[in-house]
Symmetry: D2
Subunit: 303 residues, 4 copies
């Protein structure tokens, strides 16, 4: 990456993986450099010798690319999300040391964080908004959902009857996995286009208006719709042994109170990529960031 | 379909299949009726006894649903596309007999045909514009492309190296077929989102800017982009035994002159659904028309 | 099952599932009966009301079919394998009450148990020796192995490089799962026939004589060969982060001492069907037992 | 292949492909040589410049490996199967010139041919008897069967209901293709072990004793059993539009007379590998012959 100096600020295993890959792939040692800030690691973490871990925020002053964590800030919007750091890393400290003209990247950047940055004349590019990131993350999410289903169900996926509500990215990645393991997969969606795609994939399409009539034999229900689709009326139509895996982001799509009363087993599975496959998730982050760098005119010296 | 009277005007095997399915599924004989006009069939065609074939255009006067062929009109824009009819079926004759308020449907309706209809106070609903039709048609198209590849290639699909240019509907249906038969599949596309989806499906994504570098081992190339992507410069990078199957609608995406000079085997495969799987194509048409009828408030009495 | 009386003696969740299915499927209540002995269940176990749980061994006297657990006997070869029973169930007690001419079935019947039975004039039919049982059990075993791989690996299965040593039943069930999730799968085997089958399935065949040369990029290694294949020399060629899942029955095929020294993560996964999918495993047992009953001339009144 | 001289006698496109591969892979030009005899080719055939085509049978005198065609002899058992040769190639002429100690290979060697060879002190190794050849050939056979099904059926394979009778090699290669294209696949077999494998693959197992009850909805029937399974009684239970593809070697498993009377569409598909994928079939032949050479102690200098 030419003569770039890169700082990675905060983050978890994904950022470490990203840093290691960056160290491997870029021309580090041959004129370029790559610095890490804010990652105070456990001994067990393996880090490339080409990476300098530091807790001196002034390192940002000579970096032209600064990559913040995913999500970027802790609840409270004052500090960087830096779970491996032994002390807090205030956003203001960082912003105050970023040099003018540097490219600043962050993930899931909240309005408050963006405003804070703008006080320092900084605009943050949110890599989490990139469509390719969301698409590629669907794979670890789907694998994580499958792992939960395998762990929680007393049957094999082979021969089981599954229902997926919603047919967006996650459903499109999950359905083929279940089918190829030998499950029968129904997909509940509202748009004819989505139902058509689910049929092309080999699923049985179910219009949401007929969802209630298709639940009595369902053994595993995966919800991907972030709206209260699985309400009391629907939950009552599920067999009592049905396993529900809610993959929808908050507030989710399941009426948990009713599910509890009915004795249904509900697993709320959020942020699976970083949990089930941190290395893959780090690779995906880096790929996405590369695309942004390319579009901003940075020259990539790939391997 | 309540007390509807339906006319199907013109068309090929797909319309016959559609008519037969309609006869089976609707409450024909129990108060509803279904008439066909313009389909003068060969003896070998099997038609439900519930369907009345007629050449009297006045039958349209008592139909409240009139379904024209796909495409609706012949070249010249004067007559209905009715390959099985022994005489021409002028559009004006039909339009003049459609009763006011009837729902008129047609496929691939050209501007001229729409204008002609408007002279008679008619608005044609083009079922070919429905997204679900395009999605579902991707399956017979993909199977047709696979059949051509199998027929033309002296190797098995298993173990072969394929390239698909473009990653729209057809490519999304075709890639899994090739992969599940054991081919290695590269996908050439421009958008990172499309490349991400192709990777999720198990393909090797290739940015179009690097297409030329990924062609030397390609044995079968499927083009789905309706733009001159496979120009002289690109074609020259293909091995001479490479088979090219162009699935893009006119004017296609292959420089045929150059391909010919280079001795490349190019198959231009258009309108595959009606050719390779007329019954399935008819089912897809009917499903799509059902959705339109539903949305227009017609009550469907399904089986 | 006509007027049969069936006893199920000992066992775990699989036998309970089997009993419930048997109660559902057979003509219980209509002239036939089905008794259980030795299954003293927790309150949480759900059992069909058609099943009589009892601890009176004399119930065997009027049963013409007696089905023992899998494995049949505890270590020590004196008592029935009955983990849910609060008291021991001596084999001699059971054998002494089986009526002459009854069909006696057991799983993994050891020589000592067979000898003991013969003292009572009984011959035990070992259902675990049936080929279809072993074949069908390969599915829960493969799913269990996949679940372990997903849990232990910091990457997705998609994109990972796997090696399976051996290409018997389990490998044949496991390879398609890994492939369909997007892994690259190498198969190490000795016989050209096995290598050919692995190639047909989409794997990369590796002759065992070249195994060492194909290990440097392997991320997950599944061993299915019950012989010391993964010895010191081989283990040293694996990358240090490689995950090893040993699916071979005792004594397994991995040199654990060396693996430990090298810091390799080895998971020894035995008897997966009963652990990961007890209901499916129970269904498989029952199907197999049905086949035996059919061959012995018992009439099955299926649903 | 060291200092070997190899002759390929007779054969079709597969032998030419084999010869070309052999020329590429072996150390021809660097001390070894590779001669072809009996292949008098059309101008269109592309042959490696390293291969000498000749019609002088005396070339066999200095070859230590002689590879005959598949099948080896024409009907009549007097001449080599050499469809591309302009004159007949008598077996006696060849045998008389093979030098003592040479390795002689042939495919589908009939008793009469073996006897003739023994008069000259020659023992022919039949490469067609190798299990790996039969396994690998199942792939082009399955693809050929799929191509026929696609061509002959007015529906897509997706959504169609198929029956495969028999579950040997071809069925094991064909079933996953049909399933992955979206067909429902029933498998009729007699052995519980085979039925179990078909279930593991995702098919619906049907015991042959119940075959008749499972035919009324079958749209495509693939027979792989070389015995009269599809007799009058069975054929009558098929719907009249059912397509039958007979993949069993002579005399096949279909009562053609009855099928004709019933108006069923029967395609008798024999020797598919050489027809649908001659290059792949040639590669498979060569791989198999390599294994024989290896076992006989010839050193292979692979690429």
């Amino acid at each position: 990456m030419g003569n770039s100096a890169i700082a990675i600020v905060g983050g978890d295993l994904r950022q470490i993986c990203m840093a290691n890959l960056l160290a491997e792939k870029t021309g580090i040692g041959s004129g370029a450099s790559c610095d890490l800030y804010g990652l105070f690691l456990d001994k067990e973490m393996e880090m490339s010798s080409r990476i300098t871990a530091t807790d001196d925020v002034r390192v940002l002053e000579y970096c032209n690319i600064v990559i913040f964590a995913l999500p970027m800030a802790d609840t409270g919007d004052q500090t960087v999300n830096a779970p491996f750091s032994i002390h807090k890393v205030p956003l203001r400290d960082c912003f105050g040391h970023v040099r003018p003209g540097a490219l600043v990247l962050g993930g899931m950047v909240k309005e408050k964080t963006a405003q804070l940055a703008s006080e320092y004349g900084l605009v943050i590019e949110d890599y989490f908004l990139r469509e390719e990131l969301a698409v590629l993350n669907a794979v670890p999410t789907a694998e994580g959902a499958l792992e939960i289903a395998m762990r929680e169900s007393p049957r094999t996926i082979a021969g089981s009857i599954c229902m997926i509500t919603g047919y967006g990215r996650i459903a499109k990645a999950l359905a083929p996995l279940l089918l190829s393991l030998g499950a029968k997969v129904k997909v509940g969606a509202r748009k004819h286009e989505d139902l058509a795609w689910s049929k092309v994939a080999g699923c049985q399409p179910v219009h949401l208006s007929q969802l209630g009539e298709q639940l009595s034999d369902v053994e595993i229900l995966f919800n991907t719709v972030p709206a209260m689709i699985l309400d009391k009326g629907i939950l009552k139509k599920l067999p009592p042994q049905c396993l529900i895996i809610d993959l929808a982001s908050k507030p989710g799509g399941v009426d948990f109170e009713t599910a509890k009363t009915l004795g249904l087993n509900v697993v709320w599975a959020l942020s699976l990529p970083g949990k089930v496959a941190p290395i893959t998730a780090g690779e995906i982050l880096l790929d996405t960031i590369y695309h942004i760098l390319e579009e901003k005119g940075f020259i990539i010296e790939s391997d």
